[in-house]
Symmetry: C2
Subunit: 121 residues, 2 copies
Protein backbone atom coordinates (compact mmCIF):
# COMPACT_ATOMS: atom_id res chain seq x y z
CA UNK A 1 0.00 0.00 0.00
CA UNK A 2 1.53 3.25 -1.14
CA UNK A 3 -0.42 6.33 -0.02
CA UNK A 4 0.66 9.50 -1.85
CA UNK A 5 -2.02 11.91 -0.59
CA UNK A 6 -4.81 12.14 1.92
CA UNK A 7 -7.25 14.59 3.40
CA UNK A 8 -10.30 14.20 5.65
CA UNK A 9 -12.47 12.73 2.83
CA UNK A 10 -10.19 10.57 0.68
CA UNK A 11 -6.76 9.05 0.21
CA UNK A 12 -4.89 8.33 -3.00
CA UNK A 13 -2.76 5.21 -3.42
CA UNK A 14 -0.55 3.87 -6.21
CA UNK A 15 -1.58 0.47 -7.61
CA UNK A 16 1.45 -1.69 -8.34
CA UNK A 17 1.03 -2.28 -12.10
CA UNK A 18 2.81 -2.15 -15.46
CA UNK A 19 0.81 1.04 -16.22
CA UNK A 20 0.32 4.32 -14.31
CA UNK A 21 -2.60 3.46 -12.02
CA UNK A 22 -3.93 5.36 -9.00
CA UNK A 23 -6.76 4.46 -6.63
CA UNK A 24 -8.90 6.92 -4.66
CA UNK A 25 -10.41 5.50 -1.44
CA UNK A 26 -12.97 7.20 0.76
CA UNK A 27 -11.86 7.67 4.39
CA UNK A 28 -15.41 7.03 5.63
CA UNK A 29 -16.81 3.53 5.29
CA UNK A 30 -19.03 3.82 2.20
CA UNK A 31 -20.18 0.72 0.33
CA UNK A 32 -21.65 2.77 -2.51
CA UNK A 33 -21.07 6.32 -3.76
CA UNK A 34 -24.60 7.22 -2.64
CA UNK A 35 -23.55 6.32 0.93
CA UNK A 36 -20.85 9.02 0.82
CA UNK A 37 -21.31 12.59 2.00
CA UNK A 38 -21.81 15.30 -0.64
CA UNK A 39 -18.35 16.63 0.26
CA UNK A 40 -16.72 13.23 -0.31
CA UNK A 41 -18.50 12.76 -3.64
CA UNK A 42 -17.38 16.22 -4.77
CA UNK A 43 -13.80 15.43 -3.73
CA UNK A 44 -13.82 12.24 -5.79
CA UNK A 45 -15.25 13.87 -8.93
CA UNK A 46 -12.75 16.71 -8.55
CA UNK A 47 -9.78 14.36 -8.02
CA UNK A 48 -10.74 12.12 -10.97
CA UNK A 49 -10.78 15.26 -13.12
CA UNK A 50 -7.43 16.55 -11.85
CA UNK A 51 -5.69 13.16 -12.02
CA UNK A 52 -7.00 12.46 -15.53
CA UNK A 53 -5.74 15.86 -16.74
CA UNK A 54 -2.32 15.36 -15.15
CA UNK A 55 -2.00 11.80 -16.49
CA UNK A 56 -2.84 13.01 -20.03
CA UNK A 57 -0.28 15.83 -19.87
CA UNK A 58 2.48 13.85 -18.21
CA UNK A 59 2.21 10.32 -19.65
CA UNK A 60 0.58 11.12 -23.04
CA UNK A 61 -1.35 7.82 -22.94
CA UNK A 62 -3.70 6.48 -25.60
CA UNK A 63 -6.70 6.67 -23.25
CA UNK A 64 -7.70 7.14 -19.63
CA UNK A 65 -9.80 4.41 -18.00
CA UNK A 66 -11.83 4.91 -14.81
CA UNK A 67 -13.72 2.32 -12.76
CA UNK A 68 -15.35 1.68 -9.40
CA UNK A 69 -16.32 -1.94 -8.61
CA UNK A 70 -15.49 -2.98 -5.00
CA UNK A 71 -17.21 -6.36 -5.33
CA UNK A 72 -14.61 -8.19 -3.25
CA UNK A 73 -14.18 -5.52 -0.57
CA UNK A 74 -17.36 -3.42 -0.32
CA UNK A 75 -15.57 -0.10 0.29
CA UNK A 76 -15.88 2.58 -2.41
CA UNK A 77 -12.65 3.08 -4.33
CA UNK A 78 -11.98 4.45 -7.80
CA UNK A 79 -9.36 3.22 -10.23
CA UNK A 80 -7.83 5.68 -12.69
CA UNK A 81 -5.47 4.23 -15.26
CA UNK A 82 -3.35 5.61 -18.12
CA UNK A 83 -3.61 3.12 -21.01
CA UNK A 84 -1.14 2.58 -23.85
CA UNK A 85 -1.46 0.69 -27.15
CA UNK A 86 1.52 -1.43 -26.07
CA UNK A 87 0.27 -2.37 -22.59
CA UNK A 88 -0.65 -6.02 -21.94
CA UNK A 89 -4.43 -5.58 -22.19
CA UNK A 90 -5.12 -2.70 -24.61
CA UNK A 91 -7.75 -2.21 -26.05
CA UNK A 92 -9.36 -4.53 -23.50
CA UNK A 93 -9.79 -3.06 -20.03
CA UNK A 94 -7.28 -4.08 -17.34
CA UNK A 95 -9.74 -6.74 -16.11
CA UNK A 96 -10.16 -8.22 -19.60
CA UNK A 97 -8.27 -10.77 -21.68
CA UNK A 98 -4.50 -10.33 -21.93
CA UNK A 99 -3.50 -9.33 -25.47
CA UNK A 100 0.30 -9.47 -25.40
CA UNK A 101 3.40 -9.09 -23.21
CA UNK A 102 3.24 -5.38 -22.44
CA UNK A 103 6.04 -3.09 -23.62
CA UNK A 104 4.55 0.34 -22.84
CA UNK A 105 7.15 3.01 -22.06
CA UNK A 106 6.35 6.16 -20.14
CA UNK A 107 7.91 8.84 -17.92
CA UNK A 108 8.68 8.05 -14.27
CA UNK A 109 5.90 7.62 -11.71
CA UNK A 110 7.99 9.62 -9.20
CA UNK A 111 7.93 12.69 -11.44
CA UNK A 112 4.21 12.25 -11.98
CA UNK A 113 3.46 12.06 -8.27
CA UNK A 114 5.50 15.26 -7.68
CA UNK A 115 3.59 17.06 -10.48
CA UNK A 116 0.21 15.81 -9.24
CA UNK A 117 0.84 16.76 -5.61
CA UNK A 118 1.81 20.28 -6.69
CA UNK A 119 -1.76 20.61 -8.07
CA UNK A 120 -3.49 19.39 -4.90
CA UNK A 121 -3.95 21.80 -1.97
CA UNK B 1 -29.47 0.87 -29.33
CA UNK B 2 -32.18 1.77 -26.87
CA UNK B 3 -32.16 5.43 -25.83
CA UNK B 4 -34.36 6.08 -22.77
CA UNK B 5 -33.44 9.72 -22.08
CA UNK B 6 -31.53 12.60 -23.61
CA UNK B 7 -30.88 16.27 -23.09
CA UNK B 8 -28.42 18.71 -24.68
CA UNK B 9 -25.41 17.24 -22.81
CA UNK B 10 -25.98 13.49 -22.58
CA UNK B 11 -28.10 10.52 -23.55
CA UNK B 12 -28.85 7.36 -21.58
CA UNK B 13 -29.09 3.96 -23.27
CA UNK B 14 -29.89 0.46 -22.04
CA UNK B 15 -27.13 -2.11 -22.57
CA UNK B 16 -28.53 -5.47 -23.62
CA UNK B 17 -27.30 -7.69 -20.76
CA UNK B 18 -28.37 -10.29 -18.20
CA UNK B 19 -28.10 -7.57 -15.52
CA UNK B 20 -29.58 -4.05 -15.24
CA UNK B 21 -27.01 -1.97 -17.14
CA UNK B 22 -27.26 1.61 -18.40
CA UNK B 23 -24.77 3.67 -20.40
CA UNK B 24 -24.45 7.46 -20.36
CA UNK B 25 -22.98 8.97 -23.55
CA UNK B 26 -21.94 12.59 -24.04
CA UNK B 27 -23.70 14.31 -26.94
CA UNK B 28 -20.55 16.29 -27.76
CA UNK B 29 -17.58 14.41 -29.16
CA UNK B 30 -15.31 14.00 -26.10
CA UNK B 31 -12.52 11.44 -26.05
CA UNK B 32 -11.81 12.02 -22.36
CA UNK B 33 -13.86 13.49 -19.50
CA UNK B 34 -11.43 16.43 -19.38
CA UNK B 35 -12.46 17.24 -22.99
CA UNK B 36 -16.08 17.71 -21.85
CA UNK B 37 -17.62 21.02 -20.81
CA UNK B 38 -18.10 21.67 -17.10
CA UNK B 39 -21.86 21.38 -17.66
CA UNK B 40 -21.51 17.95 -19.30
CA UNK B 41 -19.23 16.70 -16.52
CA UNK B 42 -21.70 17.90 -13.89
CA UNK B 43 -24.55 16.18 -15.74
CA UNK B 44 -22.65 12.90 -15.77
CA UNK B 45 -21.72 13.01 -12.06
CA UNK B 46 -25.32 13.92 -11.24
CA UNK B 47 -26.80 11.15 -13.40
CA UNK B 48 -24.42 8.50 -12.05
CA UNK B 49 -25.58 9.49 -8.55
CA UNK B 50 -29.29 9.43 -9.43
CA UNK B 51 -29.09 6.16 -11.41
CA UNK B 52 -27.08 4.43 -8.67
CA UNK B 53 -29.63 5.49 -6.04
CA UNK B 54 -32.58 4.33 -8.15
CA UNK B 55 -30.89 1.01 -9.01
CA UNK B 56 -30.21 0.31 -5.33
CA UNK B 57 -33.81 1.09 -4.33
CA UNK B 58 -35.47 -0.72 -7.20
CA UNK B 59 -33.29 -3.78 -7.89
CA UNK B 60 -31.75 -4.26 -4.41
CA UNK B 61 -28.51 -5.54 -5.96
CA UNK B 62 -25.41 -6.75 -4.13
CA UNK B 63 -23.29 -3.87 -5.50
CA UNK B 64 -23.24 -1.08 -8.07
CA UNK B 65 -20.36 -1.05 -10.57
CA UNK B 66 -19.36 2.01 -12.60
CA UNK B 67 -16.79 2.28 -15.40
CA UNK B 68 -15.60 4.47 -18.27
CA UNK B 69 -13.14 2.90 -20.73
CA UNK B 70 -13.92 3.73 -24.41
CA UNK B 71 -10.73 2.09 -25.70
CA UNK B 72 -12.40 0.68 -28.82
CA UNK B 73 -14.49 3.76 -29.66
CA UNK B 74 -12.82 6.87 -28.21
CA UNK B 75 -16.07 8.60 -27.19
CA UNK B 76 -16.70 9.13 -23.47
CA UNK B 77 -19.40 6.84 -22.10
CA UNK B 78 -20.11 5.58 -18.62
CA UNK B 79 -21.37 2.14 -17.68
CA UNK B 80 -23.50 1.73 -14.57
CA UNK B 81 -24.42 -1.80 -13.59
CA UNK B 82 -26.45 -3.45 -10.82
CA UNK B 83 -24.57 -6.59 -9.76
CA UNK B 84 -25.97 -9.71 -8.09
CA UNK B 85 -24.26 -12.63 -6.34
CA UNK B 86 -25.94 -14.96 -8.84
CA UNK B 87 -24.95 -13.10 -12.04
CA UNK B 88 -22.49 -14.79 -14.41
CA UNK B 89 -19.42 -12.78 -13.37
CA UNK B 90 -19.86 -11.77 -9.72
CA UNK B 91 -17.61 -10.95 -7.83
CA UNK B 92 -15.51 -10.37 -10.95
CA UNK B 93 -16.39 -7.26 -12.94
CA UNK B 94 -18.48 -7.73 -16.10
CA UNK B 95 -15.27 -7.69 -18.18
CA UNK B 96 -13.61 -10.37 -16.03
CA UNK B 97 -13.67 -14.17 -15.99
CA UNK B 98 -17.09 -15.84 -16.15
CA UNK B 99 -17.87 -17.58 -12.84
CA UNK B 100 -21.10 -19.49 -13.58
CA UNK B 101 -24.27 -19.56 -15.67
CA UNK B 102 -26.06 -16.53 -14.27
CA UNK B 103 -29.40 -16.97 -12.48
CA UNK B 104 -29.92 -13.48 -11.03
CA UNK B 105 -33.58 -12.50 -10.63
CA UNK B 106 -34.74 -8.90 -10.38
CA UNK B 107 -37.73 -6.63 -11.03
CA UNK B 108 -38.57 -5.57 -14.58
CA UNK B 109 -36.39 -3.11 -16.49
CA UNK B 110 -39.55 -1.38 -17.82
CA UNK B 111 -40.65 -0.50 -14.30
CA UNK B 112 -37.15 0.73 -13.48
CA UNK B 113 -37.00 2.98 -16.53
CA UNK B 114 -40.40 4.48 -15.60
CA UNK B 115 -39.21 5.13 -12.04
CA UNK B 116 -35.90 6.60 -13.20
CA UNK B 117 -37.47 8.90 -15.78
CA UNK B 118 -39.86 10.25 -13.14
CA UNK B 119 -36.74 11.47 -11.25
CA UNK B 120 -35.16 13.19 -14.28
CA UNK B 121 -36.45 16.60 -15.38
Amino acid sequence: MSIIYENTEVRIEIEDSEIPWLKIFTQDQCKEMTDCSAKTKQQIWHLLDVIEGEMLTYFKPEKINIASFANYVPQVHWHIMARFKEDSYYPECMWGKKQREGTAKFASMEGFVRQLLSKLD
